[in-house]
Symmetry: C2
Amino acid sequence: MELAPLFEPPYVAVIFTSVQAEDALSEGYGQTAARMLELVADQPGYLGVEMAPGITISYWRDEDAARAWRAVVEHREAQRMGREQWYRSYRLRVATVTRERAHDTD
Amino acid sequence: MELAPLFEPPYVAVIFTSVQAEDALSEGYGQTAARMLELVADQPGYLGVEMAPGITISYWRDEDAARAWRAVVEHREAQRMGREQWYRSYRLRVATVTRERAHDTD
């Protein structure tokens, strides 16, 4: 688990939580997920991501930046595959981060 | 991974992301984590939680509800143990959820 740094509120968090379908691994999921991580890093207004199995949180400068990523053609195709094949269920929540703090021991 | 249902925006998401210290398992972490899950479910304004290794997102009706949970004595003690022993690093972000959607195939 790699933590994202703190950013400067207000900014946007897109919280994606999911349960994979049983055939997720057989249908190119891993390859597409890696490609999306590569692609998202180049998006204007992208701040960072935190991921654990079943939860991906991406951070954005503002709602427009998050919305623009959602509309990227290659990402739209991945979203379609997600709905049709990879995910049994998911939730997508768009939130505005208002406060944050960090604790680091090293 | 258990997904939370949709709630009614606006509501509050408290995003806690962490890297555990090496001695986390030896110091009562699991027991306290289970107790906190039990305790949080009784808090006024608590909506739900989504958890994966290293990420816990709790959902609240409003900021006051989230703040009140932070002040609960037994939770404060757990927070102290977290800072002093269990977590090498963590981030805590408080966010207001403005939009949400779900996809379910069954």
